[in-house]
């Protein structure tokens, strides 16, 4: 834990968002991660996305497990709610919090060890329940915090810093999330801010389980020759299928697109998610073709990034459970106990 608070000096020319907040208002404490760690770039992207969307910081709950990645919520959104759970249990704690108060924006931040190794079960079940959340895995293929052992997402055949080859199959969390019914699935790279920030924005706006796998190199333990999570390797093998141009209905569409190069995905709130296609044949609204495509590309050693799947008609856990719109933690005894007269009526109906 760090106690280094950033000085609250704002440059007067810093632009403010709709709420009057500058980007600095979305920052947290000073990061204690290694200089160059991918995780810090993801924190910066989260800050940028929340600032752009003018999210009210007190309406956000950041939850994480244990790991370098799970430490990062300390380094962004310093004015939001935070909960550091134990190793691998973030998804379950998040589920509970979400059930009790559906009004907050739930931001789950985790690592590949936290979510694909020890917390794989929790990850899987939170996704299949459709918990309304943004679930970010900062994926470096190793346990950074415990000094670089392979995690369950490390590619088979990739080489550790000590020169050992990984002999086990890797878990592709994107494939798992797709299979388990996540309604928003994306992959990005910590070094590609232009792609990452709009993806985080879109995930925040999405209703349901939004899963984001962000490749995030560990400069201390997994950034060498032979690693498949190094900056160099990911830059070389990154195949973006699309880019998000996030467009609200009230914005005028000014750019012209060649036919067949955009895919519009209408959102719950009436806005439109406009995807600029890099791969003309890619259809982000089809789960099955997305899975096929990903498998084929993975076989060729490519890391496919972009918004891989989105379901415009998504539903969330509260919908499945048919809970009331008022957050459960705000229901009072009057709401919960309709009184004797109503009980009599209910009983009478059964006689």
């Amino acid at each position: 834990m760090t106690y280094l608070l950033k000085p609250k000096l704002h440059h007067p020319t810093l632009p403010a968002n709709r709420l009057g907040y500058t980007r600095r208002d979305y920052e947290g404490k000073i990061s204690t991660l290694c200089a160059g760690c991918g995780h810090d770039s993801i924190s910066a992207a989260i800050i940028q996305a929340c600032w752009e969307l003018a999210i009210e910081p007190h309406k956000v709950a950041k939850l994480s497990g244990i790991g370098c990645s799970s430490k990062t919520p300390d380094y962004f959104l310093g004015n939001s709610h935070g909960f550091n759970t134990v190793h691998g249990r973030m998804p379950s704690v998040l589920t509970g919090a979400n059930l009790a108060n559906r009004e907050l924006l739930y931001l789950g931040v985790s690592g590949d060890g936290d979510s694909a190794s020890i917390g794989f079960g929790q990850f899987a079940h939170s996704i299949r329940r459709g918990v309304n959340m943004v679930y970010v895995v900062e994926n470096n293929g190793v346990y950074g915090l415990t000094k670089g052992q392979f995690s369950a997402t490390a590619d088979k055949g990739s080489k550790s810093k000590r020169g050992v080859l990984n002999s086990e199959e890797s878990i592709d969390m994107v494939m798992v999330a797709l299979q388990l019914g996540a309604t928003f699935v994306a992959r990005s790279f910590s070094g590609d801010k232009a792609q990452l920030v709009p993806l985080i924005r879109a995930a925040i706006e999405h209703k349901g389980s939004a899963f984001l796998d962000v490749i995030s190199p560990c400069v201390a333990f997994n950034n060498h020759e032979g690693s498949t999570r190094s900056y160099d390797y990911v830059r070389e093998h990154n195949e973006a299928v699309n880019r998000i141009d996030f467009i609200k209905t009230r914005d005028a569409i000014t750019t012209d697109y060649a036919p067949g190069t955009v895919q519009d995905v209408p959102q719950h709130d009436g806005s439109v998610l406009r995807l600029r296609k890099v791969d003309a044949g890619y259809d982000a609204s089809n789960r099955v073709t997305a899975m096929n495509y990903l498998q084929q590309r993975a076989q060729q050693g490519e890391i496919v990034t972009g918004l891989l799947y989105v379901n415009a008609d998504s539903e969330d856990l509260h919908h499945h459970l048919n809970t009331v719109d008022i957050p459960l933690n705000q229901l009072n005894s009057k709401d919960l106990c309709p009184g004797l007269a109503v009980l009599e009526k209910v009983n009478a109906a059964m006689r």
Partner: protein, 421 residues
């Protein structure tokens, strides 16, 4: 052979000399160096006939060890803190099944609040499940205890936990006498399981047992531990014969024979306690030490015999039974029987709080003067605690406790700094 090495590496070498066949682990500080060193040995071919499995969690680690042990392999794992808790169900399972797994626990505090430093809360949380628990005083003993642990575990078909203080021992570079392979082979025979999954002679393991037999099975686990009490001193004796030094056993005493005050402790803090006792002896104070090397089974009679002549007993322990007080002291009490000496439980060093000689002098002095409370907390900051308690009286929504304490420490230290100017 004498060598200067890190505690974790010393233990890893000793475990390798015991010819383990399956090692499964998940990294967690401060244990990680031990299994990393073993993993290297397997990869490099220095440790032969051994599989090293990087499992995905501690729960898997203990479960894999259970399977390996049941299939007839000598199985080893290591963990600490949250890891031990996460595997707890399997820890009970291994004990209930009577599988002779050896596990190192690099003792560390348990969260929340998360804390990576040393105390004994992790091991104490599993004290009653049926594992033998040995506590090392220094790195030499830590490595020696592992060799004895395999012997003991396999003779009785009971799992054994070797506890060594996280960081204080695991990360300390000390001189150790590393045994030879011949010595270890002389002392530790090849694993001859009492139960084994053998295709030639099929059995099934893990039967459902109802009220008609459950008591008996649990009693037998207890009976095994009682047998361990008988065996352990002999194994330590035999160890001296082969390796030429004292290590292990049930208890260690130091200047305790005629002592009016006896300090009871376990683990690495015994070093500081002995230094303090030496200084007090120089001042003519009659004080000695009882170190508990084997915490489970509890060496009831051995402890009783040492404490028989004491006027007062001070138990210094790095764990807290919340809502009761001392854990070790509650065990010591069972040994006192008709002995009516004063018993003081001193909770110390939680979450890595340093235990200094100055504080020990003070607390032992207070005990001797009859001024010590029967339950006390060494170097507890009462100002901070009182602030938190007072706030809870005033405000319903008093907020998360750990964060409040951290804030108060900053605030109080600011106040103190101002007081001084």
């Amino acid at each position: 052979m004498l060598k200067q090495t890190e505690g974790s590496r010393a233990v890893a070498e000793a475990v390798a000399l015991c010819r383990p066949e399956v090692i499964c682990a998940y990294p967690i500080s401060p244990q990680t160096h031990i299994v990393e060193a073993l993993g290297e040995q397997v990869k490099s071919g220095a440790l032969v006939n051994c599989e090293f499995i990087n499992v995905e969690s501690e729960f898997a680690a203990m479960s894999v060890a259970i399977g390996a042990s049941a299939a007839g392999a000598r199985a080893y794992t290591a963990t600490a803190s949250q890891g031990l808790l996460f595997m707890a169900e399997a820890v009970f399972n291994a004990a209930g099944l009577g599988l002779p797994i050896v596990m190192t626990v690099a003792n560390r505090a348990i969260g929340a609040p998360i804390n990576i430093w040393n105390d004994h809360t992790d091991a104490m949380s599993q004290r009653d499940c049926g594992w033998i628990q040995l506590f090392a005083e220094n790195n030499q003993e830590a490595l020696d205890l592992h060799i004895q642990a395999f012997r003991l575990a396999e003779e009785l078909s009971v799992p054994v936990m070797v506890c060594m203080d996280g960081f204080i021992l695991t990360h300390a570079y000390e001189r150790v006498d590393m045994p030879t392979q011949e010595q270890v082979d002389t002392y530790l025979p090849p694993y001859a399981p009492r139960q084994i999954l053998d295709p030639a002679e099929p059995v099934s393991i893990g039967a459902m047992v109802g009220p008609e037999a459950f008591m008996e099975v649990r009693y037998l686990a207890h009976a095994k531990q009682m047998q361990a009490i008988e065996l352990i001193p002999g194994y330590a004796e035999e160890f001296r014969g082969v390796f030429g030094r004292d290590s292990g056993g049930l208890i260690h005493t130091y200047r305790a024979d005629d002592a009016e005050t006896i300090v009871v402790a376990l683990g690495s803090v015994l070093g500081t306690v002995k230094d303090t006792v030496d200084e007090m002896r120089e001042r003519g104070i009659s004080i000695g030490v009882l170190g508990i090397a084997c915490f489970r089974p509890w060496p009831l009679l051995a402890v009783r015999a040492v404490l028989a002549g004491a006027k007062r007993v001070v138990v210094l322990e790095k764990s807290l039974a919340v809502g009761l007080g001392g854990i070790v002291s509650a065990n010591v009490e069972t040994s006192l029987a008709a002995n009516t000496c004063e018993l003081y439980a001193v909770i110390a060093g939680l979450g890595g709080r340093p235990i200094t000689r100055a504080s020990l002098h003070r607390v032992f002095g207070e005990a001797i003067a009859g001024k010590l409370a029967h339950l006390s907390f060494l170097d507890l900051d009462h100002t901070i605690v009182d602030r938190v308690l007072a706030r809870e009286q005033q405000t319903r929504r008093s907020g998360p406790i750990a964060e409040a304490v951290l804030r108060d420490i900053a605030a109080v230290s600011g106040l103190r700094a101002k007081d001084q100017t």
